[in-house]
Symmetry: C2
Subunit: 112 residues, 2 copies
DNA sequence: AAATCGTTCAACCAAGTGGTTGACAATATC
DNA sequence: GATATTGTCAACCACTTGGTTGAACGATTT
């Protein structure tokens, strides 16, 4: 497969554990253990999730003694949001059409 | 796993073939065959991708004779975009900090 | 030096994904 | 009625994913 950046970003976001970890990081930097603790899950499991986030560029880590401190990097989220905003017109256009339809009906004919 | 709506939406978006199909649908309704045709891929393969999009609520289909006409439903994209916009401050805050840092340096000391 | 803490790694497992092929069903056309 | 068109379904394959356990490893504490 092609594996572009949107692929890995969206795939990283498609898991509630990882979205939870991001939310946790939004409140401040955390170690791997702290990140995994709210989800009852082995240490190694949490470590894997963090690795997914890291390889998606959503998390950067630095060593602090024997701990690994993770912090959030929101830039890929921005890219994903940019891509999604492309579609904005498709949900507003739909609403516009609906409004137009409703208005037409209220003025002309009672039912189809 | 928990399988909430964001999960399935993001997972549906995490594949370039499916994002391509959505882009194709943005230009107008299409049959399964028309959707699959740009990606050299078996009919059944395309059908599977469409099914993923459909179960994510991104595509709705109606039968027209022997063809299945698909059309775009952007609403789940809106939900995903809403979720991502939550994080907006995290990329703007970064910029703010950077600007503050640059300004401080330009006024006080030449280098660190 | 020994024990403990925070973490990674390798191996494994069950389930899911992306793709194929081949058989089948329904509609349209000759 | 025969044939082509537009799909679906089931079975299969290789690979990935999300999770586990247990061993190991580097840093810290005792």
């Amino acid at each position: 497969m092609v594996e572009n950046r949107l692929d890995v970003t969206f795939r990283a976001l498609a898991d509630p554990t990882r979205r939870g970890m991001l939310a946790s990081l939004a409140l401040g930097d955390k170690s791997i253990g702290e990140l995994g603790e709210p989800f009852q899950m082995s240490f190694a499991g949490a470590s894997k999730h963090v690795k997914v986030l890291e390889s998606a560029g959503l998390v950067v880590r630095r060593k602090a003694g024997r701990r690994q401190i993770c912090s959030l990097n929101a830039e890929p989220l921005k890219e994903a949001e940019d891509w999604l905003r492309q579609w904005e017109k498709f949900w507003s256009v739909r609403l516009d059409r609906l409004e137009a339809l409703v208005e037409r009906h209220s003025k002309e004919k009672p039912a189809v």
